[in-house]
């Protein structure tokens, strides 16, 4: 069954790259947001199966946005993507209750986490 995906990243190029990784029929990209505030609004209107969330973004970062989305819908599935090599984010991600954490430069990691769901 297809999974609907909301891509959240402040770089339009990165959103394009992630969208390219996720193609029908297994995945359908239903929306793209460029910061945490847009992500929250779009989640409420689109109700995607999975959200891929960048961590460092302007206006509202991914961690804050994820907390708000999970407050709204505790069953939301969020996969964090980041450039950063820091283990500390993994701990925070697990505390928030996200689906997983992947390096945004490693396409296979992203797809594995999404497909596991």
């Amino acid at each position: 069954m297809s999974k609907t995906i909301l891509i959240v990243d402040d770089s339009s190029m990165m959103r394009k790259m992630i969208a390219k990784l996720l193609h029908p029929p297994e995945h359908i990209v239903v929306g793209e947001a460029k910061n945490g505030l847009e992500a929250i609004d779009m989640y409420k209107s689109l109700r995607p199966d999975i959200v891929t969330m960048d961590i460092t973004m302007r206006e509202m970062d991914g961690l804050e946005a994820a907390k708000e989305i999970l407050k709204f819908d505790s069953s939301a599935h969020i996969v964090f993507l980041s450039n950063l090599n820091e283990e500390k984010y993994r701990v925070e991600v697990e505390e928030i209750g996200a689906l997983g954490f992947a390096n945004k430069h490693k396409a296979k990691e992203i797809i594995d986490i999404i497909n596991r769901q």
């Binding site: 402040d10 770089s11 339009s12 190029m13 990165m14 460029k34 961590i55 460092t56 302007r58 450039n83 950063l84 090599n85 820091e86 390096n103 430069h105």
Partner: protein, 208 residues
């Protein structure tokens, strides 16, 4: 040592500012001349009778629109300065920083018009550039590790000097790419040794 850079003679917001001031000043000046001319003509025709009610009424009828026009021109000049020149100067400053490798501070142009849209698009470009550079950085790290493994294998081969030279060139190319990426400052990302860590570089005294 100060590094001299070529600066084009045109396309600065100061020139646009001067053009705007010149335009509004000339318009106000011409308006005043026309108004003065009309008053003078009326006075000449009225002659000794300049205090007559009809003449005074004529002054009033002509004077009000002229004053209104002058007021509008003054307001226009102030509006032009605040809403066109100032935000363009801000955009110019932000882009100049970005062209010098400082991608750490996005432009803050909070307007709903075309100028605001330009600011948003410039920020988008900067973020895309940051992603490309960080992607490059990440891959040069991986390439370094692969080259280390290749170099270890090559050292075990007899008569491998040519291949060793090629590997050395690849190491140098890799390092040059890393040096290029390191010359940038990124938004909420720092490059330290071989890692990308979170953090903004706020230690530049030139930053506003």
């Amino acid at each position: 040592m100060d590094v001299k850079r070529y600066s084009p003679a045109i396309t600065s917001s100061a020139t646009l500012k001067k053009k705007g001031i010149l335009f509004f000043s000339l318009t106000i000046f011409l308006t005043l001349i026309i108004f003065s001319g009309v008053i003078y003509t009326l006075n000449s025709k009225a002659g000794k009778d300049s205090a007559a009610p009809l003449v005074q009424e004529t002054y009033l009828i002509l004077g009000c629109p002229f004053l209104l026009l002058l007021g509008t021109l003054l307001v226009g000049m102030i509006y032009y300065q605040r809403n066109i020149i100032k935000p363009l100067a801000k955009i110019n400053y932000g882009i100049t920083r970005m062209t010098e490798g400082n991608l750490d501070k996005p432009l803050h142009i909070e307007r709903g018009d075309e100028i605001g849209e330009v600011g948003v698009r410039i920020n988008d470009l900067a973020m895309n550039l940051q992603e490309v550079l960080l992607y490059l950085w990440n891959h040069t790290q991986q390439s370094s590790r692969q080259l280390d493994r290749i170099a270890a294998l090559i050292n075990q081969l007899p008569d491998s000097s040519r291949i060793q030279q090629d590997v050395q060139h690849l190491y140098l190319d890799n390092e040059e790419l890393q040096t290029m990426v390191q010359s940038f400052r990124f938004f909420e990302v720092k490059l330290e040794q071989e890692k990308m860590i979170s953090g903004s570089t706020m230690d530049n005294p030139d930053d506003k």
